[in-house]
Structures are given as structure tokens and as C-alpha cells.
Symmetry: none
DNA sequence: CATGAATGAGATTTCATTCAT
DNA sequence: GATGAATGAAATCTCATTCAT
């Protein structure tokens, strides 16, 4: 590939990224039902035609947004774990990150949209499966590392993982839908603690 | 209220129920994105005009569907608890019912739709809050009854309730999105058991 | 079918006919490439939505126009032949009618459009086949009647029919594309005469 | 004109020819309705921008395609007649060539497209007139040569020419639209024979 | 009450054409 | 000459909502 092509590809990637970002912003602001290609174009300060130049159709753009979210998760975790050795600390980072998602007003509205689209769009369905799987895989890796290092004492990595993801996710949903349902921060802390108890058999680990 | 009005109201209720049911069926079949007023009218074998006679607009109908779901939950639990005294048995029924929701292919796609709509529609948002609250209230009532009867030994009813709802809900979502993610029945059973352990302090209670 | 349905169907037929007529007018004025659904709606003084209410899509409307043309041909011939017994006179009417089509500035532009669409649209293709077949069938019927009555003396009805249709059609095309190519009326008269010669063996029959 | 300009012009001609060929291929494959400038560029393995460098606009390109077809006709006939003296043989070649056009699946779809465009585009209209005129002129030349050589005995060259073009063209159209309408080869042979009869006076039918 | 024809705003999508590189 | 990213106008089609009957 020559110099020129590299430049072009960079430009293409740039535009795609720009549009994906704009789509994410619009999506979270207006929700899938009301957002239009025109909104995205306006948000990105580009023409509507260009959106279709880079993405086959609306659904293609949305799938790309979801894939982008997935990639961001991996990047975030990779970066965060760079200088961290302790599995306990890693799990803490992981859970804190997960609980923090509820902070971002928009993130879960977008996720809801994607779940909804899962039904009618197979590509979206697969991307959703992949994102959830990513969460489970990252979580399992940490737990297994903890077991290998003799810190965690469970034999049921997958089950514990499913529980962790479930309880965090379920908590977030309730909180996102009803911010006054309970003291989210307190419950998040308690749950973290309880999970460590479950994993280590002691309750004195401080997150 | 005279005889005629009663009759009319009955008929109105009948038509409304008929349309709500049709809306639920269409909604679960096609998802929010593709369903139309015409679909509902056809499903109910009525005219499109009539839908707007009984419901202000599309959103009004959808809110009514959600409220209907809420009512059904209460009715179901009331009926199920009619001849049951044991809080343990009640909690079992409650959790089994909740886990069973994942069985119904359609139920959670509809719920996803409603969550999504929560974002842009305040009435829908409120209805969603109410449904989640209903779950928490019903669950809390059972736990408090168990405490009163000396069977459950927790002081944190609300927290435990939130955990129960969260873990079940989170489990369902993962399962609905990826039916092969894990052995749902096994995990459901394990979770139930673990919740009873949490509540009673013993692990030998068989659900 | 009750009185009401009949009324409704009449109304439906009315609207459909109205739109087909409008489509025909617009089509001949602007040609397929430039004509829009909006044009038709405007021509019929109705809304664009209504066009789609009565016709699945643009192509569906066009196929309907072609079918309408076909029907008109049959109706015209049936009516014209009502009090005519002589096959010679019938064939004369038939050929005069055919040659007259070139008079209508629009008719053949529309036909060209349909031929063009034949390629990409199977329904249109079939409708085109049907129209041409209609012409052949009507022509053959007359010739056979003439043979039965001992007036025409050919054994090759189908071949003669194909020739008649071909030469008239080919003549029209040249004339429609180039009005000054030749003396259309003169040539039309000559061709008619020659065809009768071919059929009867004498040349003194005056059309 | 200097050496450089000649080179450039050659290159320009080359590119133009390349694009015209590509346009013809795309046009016959997809038909006017679905073909795009991008299709042509892709087919020619060039960029879309270049199409507009060599042709003012889409219509300009199409007119060029039609002119190209016209030129090809003349070239073909010139070449075919190179070593042929007999007008009978020449007319045979001419008619065979004409009838053969129906063989090429694509040729007449393209011609239909051009006829259709005739309506809304004057340049296209003229190009169409020119192509039809070319056919008549070539045919007339042969007949006149035959008369000069005492082989053909008609005094109505133009009329006979119009008939020949008409009947062949009309035959092709019926065949192109309905391949099973009749035995095309048989009818083509019969028509050729009959035309020669008409021209040589061997039959007793008077034109 | 009930119907469904009619409306019209608005969404997605396509594509000829332009222009900076 | 050559490229292809970018534009933006315009087309088709959908659908909630209205309203005369």
C-alpha cells in the first residue's frame, strides 16, 4: 500500500469515526425512535449524503456504533490494567467501571436502543451478544488470574461471572430508570464488597 | 351512573382491553420500530380510526399496554398467594415467576421497547418506574412477612430486594440476548438457593 | 355484498381510475424518467399518500396503466364491431384504429416507456406480452372469420397476423420518431390496401 | 496540430471510446433506470469524475452511445459490402443483419431506452431520427442499385424501404417482448422471401 | 360508535455533479 | 489528466392522525 492509500484510509477512518461519534451523541440525546440521518449529519457538520457514503444504511451505522463501544471497553480495560498486577485491584477497576456506566446519562439509553434493535436486526443481535460476552470474558480472566494466584477461592468462574454481570447490570437498569429508587453509591459499594466476600471467603477486603 | 352508562363503560373497557391485547401481540411480534396503528387495528379486527377514539395517540396506547402488564403482575401474584402462607413459598413463587419471564420470547422485547421509550416520553418513563417499583414492593412485602414470622433474618430489606431484582433481571437480559451464554435453568436454581441462604443464614432450604 | 360495500368498491374503482388516468397523462407528458408520484398526485388533485394507498408502489401503478390500455383496446373493438358483420370492414376498423395510435402524440411515448420497463420488471413484461398478444388475437379472429365466410383466402393466419401487426407497429415507430420521414397517411392507406390484396387475392377492395 | 495534440486527441478518443463501450455494456445490463455514472466508471475501471471530464453530463454520454451504434452500423455494412456486387446479396446481408439484432438480448433494450429518452431530450431525439434514417438510406441505396442493374422492378423505393424497415422492426419488437410469440426464424425467412418477390415482380401481387 | 379514505409531514436513500488535491 | 470525497436536491414511500359519512 503506497503513501497515498495510507493517507486516504486514514481520512476514511477519520470520517467514519467522526460520524460514529456524532451518531452516538445524537442517539443518546434523542433515542433511536426520533433520531434521523439528518441529525447525525448536522451534528457532524457534514451532508446527509456523506453518511450514506460511509455507511450502507442507518442500521449499518448503528452496528458500527455498538462495535465502537465494544472496542472502547477493551481499550479502557487494557489501559487501566497496564500497571496493575493485583487481581483484586483489577476486579475493583472492572466493577467500578461497570457501575460508573450508570453515571453517563446517555450510555444506557443507547444500550436500551441496541437491545431493542436486537430483535429485528441480526447483525445488531450479534454485536449485542459480543458486547455482553466481552464483559463476561474480561471478568472471567480476572477471576481466573485471582484463582491462579491463590487469592480467589471459587471453582465456578462462569457462574460467579454471570452473577457479577447480572447484579451490576440489573442495578444500573433500576437506577437509570428511577434515580431515586435507592442509594446507588451505597448499594454499589456493598455489592462490590459482597462479591469479594463470595470470591475470597473473607469480608475484610476494602475496595 | 345509570344502566346505559355502565353498559357503555363496559363496552369501552372491552374495546380498550381488546386493543391493548392486540397492541401487545403486535408489539412483541414486530417490535416497536415496525409496528403501526394499522397493524394493531388489523390484529384487533377493528378500524384504525377506532384506535384513536379510545387512545389519544400511539404513545397513549403504549403506556396503557405497560400499565396493563403492571396490573397483570399484581393480579398474578394476588392469585398465586391466595392459599399460600409461607413467605418462603411466596418468595419462591415470586422468583420463579420472574425467571420464567425469560421464557416468553416476546415479553422482554416489549420491555426493552418500553425502556427505550422511557428516554423520550415522560409518561412512559413513569410507567416504567412504576413497574419496577411494583416488583420491589411485592418482593419487599414477602421479605418483611418472612422477617415478622422469624424466618428471614435480614435487616436490610430494601437492599436485598434490590439485589434480588437486579440479579434476576440481569440474568434474564443476558439470557434473552444470548440463549447459549450459560445454563439458564441451572443458574436460576443456584441463584434462588443463594438468595435464601442470604435471607435465612442456612443453605439447606430447598426451593 | 351489501349496498355499502358496493358503494365503497365503486368509490375505490373511481379513485383508481382517476389516478390511472392522471398517471397516463403525466407519463405521456413527461416520460417515465422524469415523472414523479407527486406529479400524478398533483395532476389528480390528490395527495401523494393516496397514490400509495391505492397502488403498492410506482411500478404497480404503471402496470395498472398498461392493463388499462389493454382493456380499452378490447372495449373499443367490442363497441366498434357491435353492428358490423363484414370481416373486411372489421379489419379496416382494426387497422385504422392501429394506425391512428400514431396520431396520439402521447400513446407511443408511453408504450416506449413500458417496453423499456419490461426489462427490469417482470409484471410489466407480462403486461406488455399481453397487450401485444391481444392485438394478435383480435386480428386473427377477424381473419379467421373472413376465411370462414370465404372472403379471405389465406392458410397462414398467424403469419399474416404477425406481419400486419409488425408493419403497422414498425411504421408507427418510424413516424413517431420522425414525423417527416414519409407521408404517413399515404403509406398507411397503401399498406392497408396491400394487406387486403394479400388476404383476398384481388386489389380492388377499397378500405 | 502538433505531435503532442495528436497524441492527446488519440488518448482522448481512447478514453471516450472506453467510456462509451462501458456505458453500452452497463446500459444493456441494467437498463436506463438503474444505471449510474458510478456503474459506468466502475465498468471502465475509471473514476466517476473522469466521466464528466469527457462528457458534459449523463445525457451527453448517452447520445454518444447512440451515435456510436449508428457508426457501427455504417462500418459493418461498408465492410460487409466490400467484395459484394449483387444488390440481391447486399439486401440479404442487410436484412439478415437487421433480423439478427433481435438475437442480441441487449441491443433492443438499449434501443427502447433511447426511444424513451427521445421524448424528453431533443439531442437524443435527433440521434434516434438519424439512426432510423441511416437504416432507410442504406436500404434505399441497395434497392436503387438493384433497379439500376435491372434486377429490382419497383418505382417506389421509399415506400418499399419503409415497409422493409417497418416489418423487420415490428417483428423484432414482438419477438423481443415475447420470445414464444411465434417461430421467429421461420417468419424472418418468409418475410425476406416475400420482400424479394415484391421487388423482383415474380409474384402477381401488385404493390 | 365505527369506518377507512385522505392527508401531508417527514424519513431514508440515491446519485449526478463538483472540486480540492 | 485523474481521483473520489463531498454535496444537496429530489424521489419514493410510510404512517400517525383526522374527519366526513
Amino acid at each position: 500500500m503506497n503513501q497515498k492509500n495510507i493517507k486516504n484510509n486514514d481520512k476514511i477512518s477519520l470520517r467514519r469515526a467522526q460520524l460514529i461519534k456524532a451518531a452516538y451523541r445524537v442517539l443518546s440525546k434523542k433515542g433511536y425512535h426520533d433520531f434521523t440521518i439528518r441529525d447525525i449529519a448536522k451534528e457532524a457538520e457534514l451532508s446527509t449524503g456523506l453518511v450514506h457514503y460511509y455507511f450502507k444504511d442507518k442500521q449499518d451505522l448503528l452496528v458500527s456504533v455498538l462495535k465502537d463501544i465494544n472496542e472502547n471497553l477493551r481499550n479502557f480495560l487494557n489501559k487501566s490494567f497496564e500497571n496493575v498486577d493485583s487481581p483484586v485491584e483489577k476486579l475493583n477497576i472492572f466493577m467500578r467501571h461497570a457501575f460508573e456506566l450508570a453515571r453517563d446519562e446517555d450510555y444506557f439509553s443507547v444500550i436500551f436502543d441496541f437491545w431493542t434493535l436486537s430483535n429485528s436486526n441480526e447483525r445488531m443481535h450479534k454485536a449485542n451478544m459480543k458486547l455482553l460476552k466481552s464483559y463476561r470474558i474480561e471478568c472471567s480472566k480476572i477471576i481466573e488470574e485471582g484463582i491462579a494466584k491463590g487469592i480467589f477461592k471459587t471453582t465456578e468462574v462462569e457462574y460467579i461471572t454471570a452473577i457479577i454481570i447480572s447484579v451490576i447490570q440489573g442495578m444500573i437498569i433500576q437506577y437509570v430508570i428511577d434515580r431515586k429508587a435507592f442509594d446507588y453509591d451505597l448499594y454499589a459499594a456493598k455489592i462490590s464488597e459482597q462479591i469479594f466476600t463470595l470470591l475470597t471467603g473473607k469480608s475484610d477486603i476494602k475496595p
